[in-house]
Symmetry: C2
């Protein structure tokens, strides 16, 4: 027998599953002398390890609870956790029941399931430019076409979106966005633009997927109501009349490694997603869901407050360091929350080339901007994370970045 040529049995969609070139590079970042702005991960000092240990201990010491926590369970998710989420959503302007909620393995799984449910090959997804890389990876498996979501100030009409989608052989299926402190830009969508987005979606007869991963991490300014809350309010508080699909997660507020996120939406969507969950992995870890129900009840508010205090200091340190260290011609966003700053370098710079030199010459790292674009790439962009490095590392690392950019600018001028 000859060996199997695996590529002959892969589905056509596998053409769009590509290893990120930078992923291999970023694997090298464990070296202690590198200051990394590349990640998008919480600082582990915030993890409520003792509370998790105590909750697990209590659950597993009680035979009846242990038998439930370690057994198979329903695809919808643990009722106690969904009840907490009902209260949480209610406090944030969204009146719902546990039947409007599906528990997922992080919001990443929510995005995958939504792509699976909504996208036929050739359908169109509207995404911002730039947008969350992980959303593009999730959606790509379902072979969509992307069009750029412009809510305000563009010249694109709903009819033009629909016509372009039809010309590509499908239809617009949803608009996706991260409205609060977006990954990668840190930008927050105004309430006015959220209302406009809902109006655009209504004209296109599509849902809005609201990725709320960073919503709780606000360091200054007034909270903006979620798109889902605005949608509910416009529909007399009736979630069954809304078109928003809200993706939440505990990964940034409590702990990522339990892999617990959730989706809130009208029941026709949730019922289909439950079937996808059942076919996809049966259910999320029962034990982790029961622990998270305890944890959310006891620790959510306090842990968010601790995270906000810690990350606000780092955001401030990064803003100050950028002012001090960046040469002229470099611009950046000023995030009111979240984990990221988006930097635009002078024309002619390339984020990927800059990363290679940054690691080699200055022992710093970040993520080049190109990966965050579905279509037209702006190569002269990079994403900086400020949740992982300390304030001292931020000051030192941004100084290194500034002098590298200045050095390359001088080389370009001399060339």
């Amino acid at each position: 027998m000859s060996a199997l040529d695996w590529s002959h049995v892969f589905a056509t969609r596998s053409d769009r599953m590509r290893a990120s070139e930078i992923r291999e590079l970023l694997k090298l970042l464990d070296q202690p002398d590198i200051i990394s702005f590349a990640g998008g991960i919480p600082d582990p000092v915030l993890f409520p390890a003792d509370a998790i240990r105590t909750a697990t201990d209590a659950l597993l010491s009680d035979p009846a609870q242990a038998a439930q926590a370690l057994q198979y369970s329903v695809s919808e998710g643990f009722v106690g956790l969904r009840r907490w989420i009902v209260d949480f959503m209610g406090a944030n302007g969204v009146s719902c029941t546990i039947d409007n909620i599906l528990i997922t393995c992080g919001s990443q799984q929510g995005l995958d399931f939504l792509g699976k449910l909504l996208l036929s090959p050739g359908d169109t997804a509207l995404v911002e430019a730039p947008t969350y890389l992980g959303a593009l990876q999730a959606f790509n498996c379902y072979e969509p076409r992307y069009d750029r979501l412009i809510v305000d100030g563009g010249n694109t009409t709903p009819a033009a979106y629909a016509a372009a989608a039809a010309a590509a052989g499908g239809r617009v299926k949803f608009a996706y966005c991260v409205p609060d402190f977006a990954n990668p830009t840190g930008i927050t969508m105004s309430e006015e633009n959220r209302v406009k987005l809902l109006a655009l979606a209504a004209e296109l007869e599509v849902p809005v997927i609201e990725d709320s991963a960073y919503q709780a991490l606000r360091y200054e300014g007034e909270p903006v109501p979620s798109i889902m809350a605005l949608d509910c309010a416009a529909n007399g508080g009736d979630i069954e009349k809304t078109r928003t699909v809200y993706c939440g997660t505990f990964s940034k507020t409590l702990v990522p490694a339990l892999r617990i996120g959730w989706i809130v939406a009208a029941t026709p969507l949730i019922q289909k997603l439950v079937l996808i969950k059942q076919a996809g992995d049966l259910h999320s870890s029962t034990l982790n869901q029961m622990v998270m129900a305890e944890l959310a009840e006891a620790e959510y508010d306090a842990n968010v407050a601790r995270a906000v205090a810690l990350y606000r200091g780092r955001r401030d340190a990064m803003m100050a360091a950028m002012e001090t260290s960046m040469p002229a011609g470099v611009t950046w966003t000023r995030p009111e929350g979240g984990l990221f700053v988006w930097v635009t370098l002078p024309t002619g710079f390339d984020g990927a080339e800059l990363l290679a030199r940054a690691i080699a010459e200055e022992r710093i790292a970040f993520v080049p901007g190109n990966a965050f674009f579905a279509n037209d790439v702006m190569a002269n962009t990079i994403r900086l994370n400020f949740s992982s490095p300390t304030e001292a590392q931020i000051v030192e690392g941004i100084a290194r970045l500034g002098r590298l950019v200045a050095r390359i600018a001088a080389e370009k001028a001399a060339a």
Copy 2:
């Protein structure tokens, strides 16, 4: 704005995501007076709750380990757990490295990922009749056609399989089976037939997906080498030359609710599956993987021995009860392991109708056979589980089933 018609935005694949009619019925089974043979779940007395509690406590009491256990981690899976699986596979005739292993959320997620990677709409999957319902649910999302996998004794040739697949607009992409104590039949494939299956797959130039969920739970007879072990042996021990994709799980041997399974295969397949894992949910729970690594090392052999002793007694009780209680004309399998017995009723019986009457008249439950067929349904079949009920419940429940079948047979004869 008018409310969204969700059905207009669903992908075409959603037509094949249907709620099981029996799922609603089976939700009623919590009533204590019902004896249920419907589940496929372990007895919770086998869950190593104390060992899980102790392992979690130790991990989370150590600040460095806690920071790792609660943080994001690599999509491939925790290295310590993959190392244990390397040793486990090696002891079972499969020499591999951690690069041949992906950790999944149960083997159900492995099946979903394999459908996603291998099946374009209209491609053909070869499955047994009957086969595991959850595999059909996972694959259905990718819109395949099914053909019946017959390894031995049929008149179907490789050329005929390929021609039928081409006529349907695709090609054969894989053969799927549960070779040991299959769900739902309890039947074990002989070594001779495993070799024939590999030869068929070689002629078709496709992989074999080996679902090994029940392999460790053998109550009598000699173990048969896994398809993957036979494939390795035929290729000089070189896993990179094999075509088998081995799906393993801890759900039946240690605990289901941590949601830990794994896939073993040649690296070209694993590398693609890692991208699917990354896009699908980033990674499995870091904490659960680290706990499972401890648990597997300390408890696997002892827990399997306890499960085998417990379930062997129940299998024996069910075999004896069937002999005692079933009227003439009913046949059933005699499983050498696993969790299930497959029952064929006289022609004219319908498993779904029988279930409705069984719940109403005799307070017993089971799963009608039709759900387990991809194509031509044999409605006069049912699946009985013997891992959940006690031996006393088995004796009583099978007596009730026998008298119900006899009563219905008498009604049919009188009609």
